[in-house]
Symmetry: D2
Subunit: 144 residues, 4 copies
């Protein structure tokens, strides 16, 4: 038995699964809840920059998707979401076994939604390292 | 016969070819000259967001690499480059047959290099559309 | 005799004159044309950071106002404009006799308008120096 | 009796007091501690944009100074700090009796320091409102 909120989160997950780029990267959602989405990406050798660290573009990609879907969870059912802009600070080389982007809505406007995301590198037996910080604006596209 | 400048641009190209992520995306350098790099990415169905447009993360990835290598062209031979931060405004849905990121150095500091990049969508028989604008800071890692 | 375009630019100028903060800074519009606004600020000792350079906040203030009014010139008469977000790269210490922020609209959307601005330091007998670069998003508030 | 840490925080406060622009705005430090600075600015009619809200430039100015001095608290004594870049999202109209910028260091590098700041509007008898979010990079200038 599901209420409308659960149905909506189900729709958000389906929308995310339509992102072929997340599939190419091997990224998937660990958590989709109201105002918060976590996307995880295992390290792969074909996702790297010149020194074998995860490419800043791959780091950004999971942070952007996490922000977009965090925003979508707070929009009316049937809405869609587009990225307006984002800013990323790269805090440390993206070295790790897995990368986790955790996005949170900080301002849930009707049209514009502002989110922040943190990308953390995880390696068994080592402390987690925050490798990137995103501040993003998303725009709601209303239900047709 | 090559002078040192040409050798350096050759090194920049080799450095870029070590980015496995650019290969995964199918992106390649159209132009590498002093202070300016152009990277092109043909559209592919596995690079998309939920509506079939190029994912903002893929758009950002080629803009980031273009900025990084534009910066590297102006550093001493043997240097390497890392992204400190960037900001991207997404101006239009990234629909097109090919996407071209053109990066230019606007402030060639010794440690920090500021670049801007424009990503344009190209489709035969249609006008080019600027789909994204990046403002980025790169940091030089000196020759060992 | 004025056409509607000129009336609109006249309204934009009046709107800008309602910004008490620009008056406090001593800043004024040098140019207001369709999609482009230039604001100038003479150096003053009470606008500085700890080393006697113009404070980054003052640099940003004229760039933000220039972007906002550049956006407003392209909106329907009676509209108002608010800043959604901006990003500023500070390229050089803001040393000069006068500072000039030149803003241009790069994407004139109906709701969101993206602008860029350059702030230049001017000193008689010396070459101009670009001290800051802004990339900004403005939002239109429709005529009541 | 003071230890070196306290002496350093004392120097940071003195450095901040050399910012003539903070004085012009009427802004002052509420708190200066290791990795964290809070600057407060009372509302004044001459700090406004066209609708009587605090100008985004004034909001940004206190956030930038708070970030800069938060960074400086973690640098060696005798260092100085400059803003490299910052990005600001304006979340709500800046209406209130006082505005408080709270900056925190998120990555205390040796050369580059990344900070975030939140600007909150305070009005007696009303809930606080977060009006802006900053993500900033500062650069250390080593002791002479």
């Amino acid at each position: 038995m599901t209420d409308d909120g659960e149905l909506h989160l189900h729709d958000v997950r389906e929308n995310l699964q339509r992102q072929t780029f997340m599939r190419l990267l091997g990224a998937g959602a660990l958590e989709i809840s109201a105002g918060r989405v976590v996307i995880e990406l295992p390290y792969r050798e074909d996702l790297c920059q010149q020194n074998g660290f995860l490419h800043a573009g791959a780091v950004t990609s999971i942070a952007d998707s996490a922000c977009g879907y965090a925003a979508l969870t707070l929009m009316p059912r049937g809405s869609d979401v587009l990225s307006v802009e984002f800013k990323v600070n790269l805090l440390a080389p993206a070295a790790g076994e897995r990368f986790r982007a955790t996005a949170t809505v900080v301002r849930p406007g009707r049209t514009l939604i502002v989110c922040t995301a943190e990308v953390t590198a995880l390696t068994e037996g080592r402390p987690d390292v925050v490798v990137a910080l995103m501040q993003a604006t998303m725009i709601a596209r209303g239900p047709r």
